[in-house]
Amino acid sequence: MDFCIGIRGNDFVLLCEDMNAAQSIMLHKQDHEKMLDLNDHLLMTRTGNLGDGVQCAEFLQKNIQLYQIRNGYEMRSSAAAHYIRKYLADTLRSREPLEVNLLLGAYDVISNTPQLYYMDYLGSMATAPFCAHGYGAMFATSILDMYYHPGISVDEAIGILNKCIKELKKRLIINFSKFNVKVVDKDGIHKLPTISVEDGIHTH
């Protein structure tokens, strides 16, 4: 029932997620932030089971922090991505499989490249210029196919995001009211204005 989307530019990765916290038919919260900073240049968003998502994200965050304290430098984005993927793969065949699909937005400060990783609860991983999770992904991916081009700017990416959200409002049965948007670049993780559907999908 959730939705998250990632768009990669030349020097940034933009991640957006819906802000619904729901359990079956009951909507608990409409301003719930799921995105988590794993370190200064690693941003993770997720869909799936709410509880599993929190467990997974916080556990990974603390382990990535531990790596930094132990070694004196940040865990590199590809190392972190592979570590996270392995964690999902290990839990899959354990007593407690985690029902979480992840999007990892990262900026590798050593090679100066942005990276976007798509992971699902079965432990598969792929890099992509843009990707999304959830029912909304079916609509968003088509729109991105049409409007995405390499070397996209942050403003253009937000424009495409707005197009996706407009489409979701029109054609998706699930009602999302707010979207949380964050961007990772060489200067770290920055929060962008929340996108609200009620006001006709303009950022405020």
Partner: protein, 250 residues
């Protein structure tokens, strides 16, 4: 093959001593000196750098380590034992934050290390850790700097200023005489006192000293050799002047 150890190594002597623990404390006294001074708004750790062998890379010898973003530790004694404790402490710092969402207090992590050390004085087949630690940092939502010390027995105390390792007693005596609250009211004063205290032991100067400053919400700052040299030359100058004054007589 016995995987169970059935013999205790740390046992009481007839007159109530735990000799293994006392021997561990002797091992600490063999380690290079570490001094810590708590100022009004920072803590300064000054450690003696052992001279490295000619072919050895200097940067691989580290006596001041970070346990978490806000807690720093210096140790004296067996480096390999210290490595084990540091690893356990680092994991506990993250684990604590995972469970209760708050970063550890300095007292908590000190108590945690002290508990581990005590367990090793009361377990079969294990010997005590030959390490004393100085833990410095700030608690969340508090501007008060904190300094704690642990010893191989598993005791821990909070200190205003402390020294461990080689010649710690000499440095202690110096600090007891020299420490004044107004002397350590600012960063410069605190650094100066710490360097002065270490200077009692490390006569050879700044290239054999490592000085770290821990301030609230700031990254751990390691002073450069030049910065330390400046303090050392100031101290040497003051000493000269003091010696001259004494010679001329009051």
């Amino acid at each position: 093959m016995t995987s169970r150890y059935d013999r205790a190594i740390t046992v009481f002597s007839p007159d109530g001593h735990l000799f293994q623990v006392e021997y561990a404390q002797e091992a600490v006294k063999k380690g290079t000196c570490a001094v810590a001074v708590r100022g009004a708004d920072c803590i300064v750790l000054a450690v003696e750098k052992k001279a490295v062998a000619k072919l050895q890379e200097e940067r691989t010898v580290r006596k001041i380590v970070q346990l978490d973003k806000h807690i720093v530790m210096a140790f004296a004694g067996l480096s390999a034992d210290a490595r084990v404790l540091i690893s356990r402490a680092r994991v506990e710092c993250q684990s604590h934050q995972l469970t209760v969402e708050d970063p550890v207090t300095v007292e908590y992590i000190t108590r945690y290390l002290a508990q581990i050390k005590q367990q090793y004085t009361q377990s079969n087949g294990r010997r005590p850790f030959g390490v004393s630690c100085l833990l410095a940092g700030f608690d969340k939502d508090s501007d008060t700097p904190r300094l704690y010390q642990t010893d191989p027995a598993g005791n821990y105390f909070e200190w205003k200023a402390d020294a461990i390792g080689r010649s710690a007693k000499t440095v202690h005596e110096f600090l007891e005489k020299a420490y004044q609250d107004d002397l350590v009211a600012d960063r410069v004063g605190t650094i100066k006192l710490a360097v002065k205290a270490l200077f009692e032991v490390v006569q050879s100067g700044s290239k054999n000293m490592d000085v770290a400053v821990i301030a609230k919400d700031k990254k751990l700052e390691m002073l450069t050799t030049d910065e330390i040299s400046k303090y050392v030359s100031e101290i040497e100058k003051e000493r000269e002047e003091e010696a001259q004054r004494k010679k001329r007589g009051r």
